[in-house]
Symmetry: C2
Subunit: 240 residues, 2 copies
Amino acid sequence: MGSGKSQHPLAKFRVGVDNVIFSVDTEKNRLLVLLVLRDTEPYRDYWCLPGTLVRQGESLEAAAYRILAEKIRVQNLYLEQLYTFGDVGRDPREAPDQYNERYLSVSYFALVRYADAELIADGVSGIAWYPVHQVPTLGFDHNRILTYGHHRLCNKLEYSPVAFDVLPESFTLNDLYQFYTTVLGEHFSDYSNFRTRLLKLGFLSDTGIKVSRGAGRPASLYRFDRDAFDPHKDKPMIFI
Amino acid sequence: MGSGKSQHPLAKFRVGVDNVIFSVDTEKNRLLVLLVLRDTEPYRDYWCLPGTLVRQGESLEAAAYRILAEKIRVQNLYLEQLYTFGDVGRDPREAPDQYNERYLSVSYFALVRYADAELIADGVSGIAWYPVHQVPTLGFDHNRILTYGHHRLCNKLEYSPVAFDVLPESFTLNDLYQFYTTVLGEHFSDYSNFRTRLLKLGFLSDTGIKVSRGAGRPASLYRFDRDAFDPHKDKPMIFI
DNA sequence: ACAAAAGTGTTTTTTATACACCCATGC
DNA sequence: GCATGGGTGTATAAAAAACACTTTTGT
């Protein structure tokens, strides 16, 4: 951090944290993002990414978890920082002569387990899962942030095991395949090849338990074996 | 950005931008990072990443370019945002009862052409290229930021054409190979295979010009063809 | 002539891709 | 018994990896 020569006055900032929270509804094959309806200015009555301003003594990540906890109850999730948006004028509250404060947005990207994600309706403001392809015009620069987050999600899936943070403890290979298909689209791989590739990697262990889903042969339940995955850490591994 | 309920007071921030500026000295086979010696508190007389506080009306990226321009004259560079560090207490200036302001650091990652990078010695503060493996204990949390930047550099090299932003207009395939080796280490690939792979991709065009470097057969100068690269954009392409 | 650097080719192994086919269950 | 989803196998093509070899220069 530089020594402020300071005939140039420094900017004062408030720092917001905005979360791009994704979830995959494998039943209906939809990729969802959590939006909230703002009940205060600016952008009152606009859908937005859930966000908050950082409080005294609170770290960025803590703020990210706080919003999350305010909006949904969930046990299993993955969270990481996304990007920081700090263009001049990105927030209407920076307008000419208010307090002369800038508004920075540090965005976080999260993936949560759909099954146990329980939305907290605080009665006042709306909150809802939106299919990512049906998201309306959002307040602030949140469409941009969402797009960025969506990119990150796709990349993450391809080279890291985030999916297992969010799938149930045990799952069928078809569940896993559905998950990938829902996020990446149908064309990412043949099921049979996907299957072979993942099993060869050796960190999915067959529990032996079979589950029947209506007609058809029952499927094996698999489990993600973190210890067996360890050697694969940092190595590029491609699911595409 | 949330509606501040605010029995919890919001934090006030100053925002710093810190740059991890890399350069590759292909002659001596060294990966370098630019450090400056601080001449003011806190961390006076410590080496640090070049940084500055963001001024009024200045975007984050503009601030990043400003520091860069203050420290080195360079035409060819690549720059992108790295990560935002905002833990409580990461800057000594947050100490108990100063102005009760937090110091955020938005870090940027840059790669510059070594040949035409001219350090600007402003006489007061020291400034120097350090081999990344010989970096001392830095001020603030800058060692951490540097480590993070180094990771990013390695990844970038593997799947994006940043190297060509920073190599001379025309270069031999050996120059390119040296560049990669210097950053990624000796073990990343056989020269002959590296060569074949890159030429097959089809965005390196032979200028026909030959250069002799001492003994041995003269090498062809190649040129990076941006148009021919375009189709490869976004596709994962691996140089490893 | 010979070492040094550049560049080509060959062989082997691994991985990706596209399928065809067999298996176990519900109805 | 046959449709349905689960699971295995094979044949082909493409890529990665290892390494031997040729070509062109300076000395």
